[in-house]
């Protein structure tokens, strides 16, 4: 059952980014990212979903991690723009040459395998000569975690999904959970 859900999300990501983020993705309107191209975003979505996969709880795609990352790349993380652009290009060059497809088109397990190789700097060839693949991977890992576990105000953690997963209340009124055993407004808000 978990696997089915994951595969479902995975295939969604392949088709059009995230249904949750782009309700119009089947129509003519295409999402306009702030920094990433649509193709780059598709790769980042696939990587982030590997880092935080959907299971009984939402994963990176549902949480809008891509929205967090793109928003920060156009803001506080603008100094990472080049790292993203070059890193995504290197990854897709490798995947195309070795596996005949872009990263996001690979089977789930093949994607995992590629990321593990990147994490260990074990990809052969000169795809990553200037910036080690482990550094690119670590950056994406950290940024994905920030998007998933950070405050929703930065574009990720949609509907407080991570806070719900680890079972902590984030009341809309500061300190409300000091006075009530559970934060009911959050539950009400979620419905």
């Amino acid at each position: 059952m978990n696997l089915n859900r994951r595969q479902f999300i995975h295939s969604l990501g392949l088709a059009c980014g995230s249904l949750l983020l782009f309700p119009a993705c089947g129509g003519k309107t295409k999402p306009v990212w702030r920094f990433l191209t649509e193709a780059e975003a598709a790769t980042v979505i696939a990587i982030a979903e590997q880092i935080i996969p959907a299971d009984q709880d939402p994963g990176a795609t549902d949480a809008g991690v891509i929205n967090f990352i793109d928003k920060q790349l156009a803001g506080f993380y603008s100094n990472f723009q080049e790292n993203y652009r070059n890193g995504i290009a290197a990854l897709n060059k490798f995947c195309t040459e070795k596996h005949g497809q872009l990263f996001e088109k690979l089977e789930w397990d093949k994607q995992t395998e590629v990321l593990k190789l990147m994490e260990k700097n074990s990809i052969e060839g000169d795809y990553w000569k200037e910036n080690p693949s482990s550094r690119f991977f670590r950056m994406l890992r950290d940024h994905s975690m920030q998007g998933f576990y950070g405050s929703p105000r930065h574009g990720g953690n949609k509907d407080y999904v991570s806070y719900k997963m680890i079972r902590i209340d984030y009341p809309h009124v500061i300190g409300q959970n000091r006075y009530a055993p559970r934060c009911e407004t959050l539950n009400a808000y979620a419905k």
């Binding site: 590997q50 880092i51 935080i52 996969p53 299971d55 709880d57 994963g59 920060q72 506080f76 995992t112 890992r141 950290d142 994905s144 975690m145 920030q146 576990y149 950070g150 405050s151 105000r153 930065h154 991570s162 806070y163 997963m165 680890i166 079972r167 902590i168 209340d169 984030y170 500061i174 300190g175 959970n177 000091r178």
Partner: protein, 553 residues
Amino acid sequence: MTNKHVNAVVIGAGAGGGPVAKELATNGLSVVLFERGGWAKYDDHDDDELISQRTTVLGNAFGPHRDKHWRVVVNSRNGDETIVYPHEGGYNNNAACVGSGTVSYGAMAWRFMPQDFRMKSIYGHVEGSTLEDWPITYNDLDPYYEKAEWEIGVSGQDPQNPFVPERKKHLPMPPFEYNREGKMLYEAAQRRGWNPFPIPMLRNSIPYNGRPACYRMRTCVGFACPVNAKCGTHNTVIPVALASGNCELRINCQVAEIMVNDQGKATGIKYFDENGKGQIQTADVVVVSGSATETARLLLNSKSKLFPNGAGNNYDWVGRNLQGHAYTGAVGLFDKDLYDDVGPGATVAISDFNHGNDGIIGGGMLANEFFRLPYLFTNQHSPGSPSWGKLHKDFQRQNYKRTMSVKGPYQEIPNFEARITVDSKVKDYWGIPVGKLMGARHPADRKGCEFLADRCEEWLLEAGAYKVWKEVGGGGGLSGGQHQAGTCRMGNDKKTSVTNKLGQLHEIDNVFVADGSLMVTNGGFNPALTIMALGFYVGDQIVKQWNGTHLKS
């Protein structure tokens, strides 16, 4: 426009500068208190973990900001020089706002122990270190600790700690109750024959000093307090200084240089005002309290005829002996929920291992750690377990409420080569040479950290953890961090220290230092209360000299 001459300028409105400004202003001196930041409010960033003072991945909540501030860090292994920004780890940041770190700190309120002032006498000379006794004793500082505890506000109950130094007056507020993990650790420590007690805190456990009691949020460390229950200099001594009518606070001002005349006297300071315009403020007395990094940087940048290498630096001790704390400890997993959301987390401590440990120089207090917020917790997984993917997510989900961390600050062994200099090639936004950090920790730190981490492991196992791993600190690299200290050491010999025992530069008698820079050694405790006590102490020394008309121009 010329600024009116004043009796004293105090540079830096943090833990040290706040008390000095208050002591001088309430004793009738005219004071200008300079702060490079502005007033911080909870609403600026409220409970946003990613922009706090503890986790700074998207910036520091209370500054400084990367558009105007940066430093150079020298890699201790290969000598590479890198420019680092305030939100990056190597920068060694302290907040830039009125109150500085006292707005957003965890607020532990430790007195150092008498032994912490006599480290060389107790432990002897340590090869490769500058370990030394302070020129003042615990008893000299005791009345000023008391002022800090009562005027700024501390809760706690000392008698439960058999190692606590003698005091003349009890603390003004009762201790906080233990949270769930605190109770478990309290009982576990007792079973091991240790002496657990509630952590003294610069937070109101009851309404005090016109502000309400703490209601124990999880977002406390790294954040301003939404109900103003945390006690810092911004809501205590600085308002008192301003209310005296003798103190003007000038915010968003960057001080560039202390002006020293050809007779070797300071005449005032040069600074950039909030509009970036260069200004001069003359004064009879200059007090520097900008933290161990910025205080040393300012002195080094203040070059004059008699002091070509910086104010008070003719013996090359300014900026030396940079130290912080080597945090070390252990993490334990439990098979039931421990997390009760009674923040900010740290409630119980032991002081059994601060001194008297076989083969170890000094030691440190150990306490349960403040709550790790969700993003910070993503790096709290056990060694060897995945940092991403399905297994990592499972770990987060299962263990966020079932993890306990116990740790403490090992008292670092200072060394001469761990230091701050200035980089003449790299300038900040205003064109002032930036601070350059270099050197590495003394190897004794690692040994001390291993010893303390073993105790933490024992403690967690006794409390019922089914799995424990150690996080041993003190390895390699340079220290400093928010607990940075030691760069303008006080001492009796002008050839081996920067200030005398009053906090007054040996070589320029109307310049004083009042912050962690003075500290010869850094204790095995969070240093905020000691820095505050030093602020009161130095303030009192200035007032005494002033009344003897020694300093009046």
